[in-house]
Amino acid sequence: MSLFDSIKNALNENPFSGHYKINRMRPPGSVDEKRFMKLCVRCSRCVEVCPYDVVKRSTKTEYGEIGTPFIYAEEAGCHLCMKCTSVCPTGAIDPKVTEMEQTSIGIARINEETCNNYIYDRQESGEEADGMAALCSSCFNVCPLQHEAIRLENGLTPVITEKCTGCGLCVERCPTRPRSISIIPKDMPDAATAGYYHFLKRMGK
């Protein structure tokens, strides 16, 4: 790993919450980003009601987002208890979303280059692969919708399905640095639209 890469990694591990540029999601049930920014009155009610303390108030000022709620998946993922959906006074978080299956915060993407399970798989099949090879399967074990949102192909490699809610628990537990799994918030399916969330750009996809 070059010096530049290690500096970049150190910056990604920034201890000041609110400065994560990737794996930053809205609370479950949020309407799309543009409408959310208009409707959210920064009342902190979702922050207050969250029993796991994962919904946090943004401190960044870009595009006037200061005070809006974010989940920083690298610190802690959303447990999908759906408490925050009922409290929003303006409907920025849709109160009709009450079941975890209904939510679509985003969708997880696995970086197959660095994922321990994928490296193990490649080494097993005789390919050249650098890095730690292990059957870690942390993302599979922690997923609230196991076997539905994520499954292990051949019992080895984790694969994300359409049912992924984007809660970010897998990101929280991923042992590699930088994380091999990230949440791509909804409506940002490819690198061109990823914008602020450069995980896709970093992966080059």
């Binding site: 943004s58 401190t59 303006t90």
Partner: protein
Amino acid sequence: MSRCRRIIQWFFFLLMFIVPALNMLEIYFIKGTYISMDVGELAVSDPLAVLQAVFASHEIKAVMIASVTLPLLIAVLLGRVWCSWACPYYLILDGIEALRKKLGLKPLKPVYSESGPSKANFFRYALLISGFILVGAAGVPLLYLISPPSVLSSQAVMLIKHFTLTAEFIFIPIVLIIETFFVYRFWCRFFCPTGTVLSIFKSSKGLRVEYSGSCSGCSRCVKACPMVLDPRKDGASSQCHNCGECVSICPDNRKTDTLKFRIK
């Protein structure tokens, strides 16, 4: 009466910290901040919050209308009682005034002038309207970054839950320094968007200070009024927030009802 008001003010001030603490203990009977609050099944929102969301997003939802009904009803019936009887920022200002008195500093309060109230009124309505135009243009409810009760209350949640304050708190020390050393209650008198929205709904039939027409003319009420009004003239004006300082200080009230609260 001023004692009663002080107790209610402290109650609302402490409630700001108690509600998140209760939520951390998983007691969810009362939850929210002073921007929006749920008491049991009853949802209450600040009219300014809902108006901003409507202006920014161009949509009105049933939830929004339902939650502003109670505050607007209170505003119509009792006037701007939120400001003087509940607003946590107002309590801090009262504290600053008492502190200045204790330290023997010269009072900052300007002398009452005839044109003062109408000037202040013009200023704050112009600010509110331009604020709403800005909110509509930017599509972001910006006025909440400069509304002391909402900033205080949302920062109280951050303090209790995460032991941190976010950047918008910086606004509070800035205005407090101005309030302490330069201009007397300038935020409440000239700027506060929350108070201005509430004063739109203050009706002339609701709770107001009424003057019987003649008194000994000590003008103690004018000196006591925190909004720099003349209670004998401006009792029903939209700037009066029914704090009752003038009513409790008036010496003539002991003999006849000179300066009293009245409804209808």
